[in-house]
């Protein structure tokens, strides 16, 4: 009986141990995958956050207090993502949350944000619905599927006169959404295409590639996020599909990870990928400053553009709190709606017209980059191009 009581007491004490910290810092919540198949994104986020904090705190922080970040892991899984946001809202009681790079996770998170009425700025989850749902508390300062396809991928395919497209998509919200949008646009342009579904963590694509080869396309739009893309690219070369048929990595970062060249070998030559960052393309002074400070801090050039995306949203969040002069949700949302802030990719202004995905949405300009002799060459859009698209006859 005594043991029972001890047990009950211990459990109660454990349960009551609340996490009340003295609030002498402003805490910004971050959600993103630090573990799981896309843990590289978490690493990129960490670097971007560190630079953002350096910049913010050097200027005296926010509302006179130092800024601190609470980074909750989502594992790239919607269930964990929802629970991560819930923890930030109920345990850490942060005034605002930023981040995320998986559409499926983001779609789970916006429901929680809406439930707890906590402002959330998404940076790298592209699904239309994230802003199309028109939740008052949800913003996005990053690419959106429809925008990426309408302004970049579809025109790129059309302008470069590709004759037949193979769309290969993973089974995720991002994959499904961006593939559907691409199909619509290609239909409008009258370009023939086929679509194949693949598993994100698959490692053997011989079957799919053999099928694609039978259709004889001249470009593959690969909507696969993660190292799966590497094996896809390498095996496409093995079965003799590429480089005659080019491959466009519709997300981007996987083509920039350290492991890319190791995994694909010479099959990586002429591969294309989406990006919002290039050594020679600096749209704002902040972009230059970020590039320089990154090099100073990490001793190398930044590769994954998501480092910069998270940097941007931390700055946007800090700016909103500063202007709201409060850490309460309503004033922060009001301030966000009036955002007019220069970040690395341009000047952020959120759309306010309800009814479409453009509500609370701001999209940075994107680039189509090609690996040419292991160098990144911007090949689209024309006005930003640093070289011409190379094809193999």
């Amino acid at each position: 009986m005594k043991r029972l009581m001890v047990l009950v007491t211990v459990m109660t004490v454990l349960a009551m141990g609340s996490w009340a910290w003295a609030a002498d810092t402003i805490k910004i919540g971050v959600v993103g995958p630090r573990t799981g198949p896309a843990a590289a994104t978490g690493k990129a986020f960490e670097e971007g956050i560190a630079i953002a904090l350096d910049h913010l705190n050097a200027k005296g922080g926010v509302l006179g207090k130092q800024v601190e970040v609470v980074f909750e892991d989502t594992g790239g899984v919607p269930e964990k993502a929802a629970s991560a946001l819930e923890k930030l809202a109920t345990r850490d009681k942060v005034p605002i949350v930023v981040g995320e790079s998986h559409s499926s996770s983001a779609l789970a998170e916006i429901e929680v944000a809406n439930r707890y009425k906590i402002p959330l700025i998404i940076c790298e989850a592209w699904h239309d619905d994230i802003t199309k749902k028109n939740y008052k508390w949800v913003f996005r300062a990053g690419p959106v599927n429809s925008g990426v396809v309408d302004f970049y991928i579809a025109p790129f395919v059309k302008d470069n006169r590709f004759k037949k497209v193979a769309i290969v998509r993973e089974n995720s919200d991002w994959g499904v959404g961006i593939a559907e949008k691409t199909e619509t646009d290609l239909k409008n342009f009258g370009i023939p295409f086929i679509t194949l579904k693949v598993e994100r963590e698959s490692k053997d694509f011989y079957t799919e590639l053999t099928k694609i080869k039978g259709e004889n396309p001249d470009i593959i739009l690969a909507y696969i996020y993660g190292t799966g893309l590497h094996f896809f690219v390498a095996q496409a070369h093995e079965v003799g599909l590429s480089p005659k048929c080019l491959i466009l990595d519709g997300a981007g970062p996987p083509s920039l990870w350290d492991t890319f060249w190791k995994n694909v070998g010479k099959a990586g030559e002429l591969e294309l990928f989406m990006s919002s960052m290039h050594e020679k393309v600096h749209l704002t002074p902040t972009s230059r400053k970020f590039w320089d400070d990154y090099k100073k801090k990490y001793g190398k050039d930044p590769t994954d553009y998501k480092t910069r995306s998270i940097y941007n949203v931390v700055l946007i969040a800090a700016d909103a709190i500063n202007r709201a002069k409060s850490t309460d949700n309503e004033p922060i949302v009001a301030a966000l709606e009036k955002t007019n802030l220069e970040v690395t990719t341009g000047i952020v202004k959120f759309g306010l017209k309800q009814g479409t995905y453009e509500y609370h949405q701001w999209m940075p300009p994107m680039l189509v980059v090609q690996w040419q002799g292991q160098k990144q060459v911007v090949v689209y859009p024309k006005e930003a191009a640093t070289g011409a698209l190379k094809k193999v006859k």
């Binding site: 198949p37 094996f231 190791k262 995994n263």
Partner: protein
């Protein structure tokens, strides 16, 4: 037609590797009545060992492969001594121990090697045009021949050597074998090590083709279990035929039925076998 041949080739190559991995499981089940759920993790560890040995430490890939297999053999022996030995005779206990062990090893791999797939350097690069019909990756062809070599070696080991005879004696009749002077604790330990080493062999062969990830281990274990049940527990020949059958069925199924359901075909057959021939396609019906 060319496509069909291509799918078939892929099925056979993967089937042979399946067989090696499955023999590792089958050996341990046949001799000790222990299902090693940590089989897939040993395979993954071997893949990472060969990657780190060759990519990070600069050991030549051809040396890194046997070295990794040997490490896994030692790990297998260690596992048997510390965790598996006390479970002999208690099926439930051994199932729980090896399942928990698989989770521990999987997470240890995440901690040590990180979540990313890694591949040791290819021994050969490029592709060969097979009879002018289709292109096939050279590394895959090489892996196929190495696998055949390993299979022949295992058959020799088990059919022709003293060790193989003791193994067969113990798996047929534990009491009889101890009467004729076989030290079955020692046989258990060595065969557990051998089973582990076979998981490792499959791992190092596959790693350059399909890079290993810590989270991929359970699929590998399941694959081996399907083959073992297909072929009949404890049957070597069954493993080879079961492995080939699974490889071919999966690849043809993926090609002509559904790529997404690639991994389900094996299980469907597993369930059918369990319903109609629970002792396996090639095993013997026993009481």
């Amino acid at each position: 037609m060319n496509e069909f041949l291509m799918y078939l080739t892929n099925g056979i190559v993967i089937g042979v590797i399946n067989a090696i991995s499955a023999i590792g499981v089958s050996l341990i089940v046949g001799i000790m009545r222990v299902v090693n759920f940590a089989h897939g993790e040993l395979y993954i560890f071997a893949g990472y060992f060969s990657y780190h040995l060759s990519a990070s430490l600069g050991v030549p890939p051809l040396l890194a492969m046997p070295l990794s297999i040997f490490f896994i053999f030692l790990i297998g022996i260690g596992m048997e001594r510390t965790l598996i030995r006390p479970t002999y005779g208690d099926e439930m206990y051994s199932l729980i121990i090896t399942f928990v062990l698989s989770i521990v090893l999987q997470n240890a791999a995440l901690l040590i090697f990180g979540p990313y797939p890694n591949k040791p350097p290819n021994l050969v690069s490029g592709a060969t045009n097979i009879f002018g019909l289709y292109h096939y990756g050279n590394q895959r062809l090489l892996s196929f021949f190495i696998s055949i070599g390993i299979l022949l070696f295992i058959f020799y080991l088990i059919k022709r050597t003293w060790f193989g005879k003791s193994i067969r004696a113990v798996s047929q009749d534990r009491e009889m074998s101890s009467l004729v002077g076989v030290d079955h604790l020692r046989v258990n330990m060595l065969s557990f090590g051998l089973g582990a080493a076979l998981a490792g062999a499959a791992g190092v062969i596959v790693a350059p083709i399909f890079p290993v990830t810590p989270t991929g281990s359970s699929a590998i274990s399941l694959n081996a279990f399907v083959v073992v049940v297909l072929g009949g527990m404890g049957s070597l020949k069954g493993c080879v035929i079961g492995g080939l059958a699974l490889g071919i069925i999966e690849n043809l199924g993926a090609a002509y039925l559904s790529t997404m359901y690639r991994n389900i075909f094996g299980f469907v057959i597993l369930i059918l076998v369990l319903v109609f021939r629970p002792w396996g396609l090639f095993g013997q019906k026993a009481q």
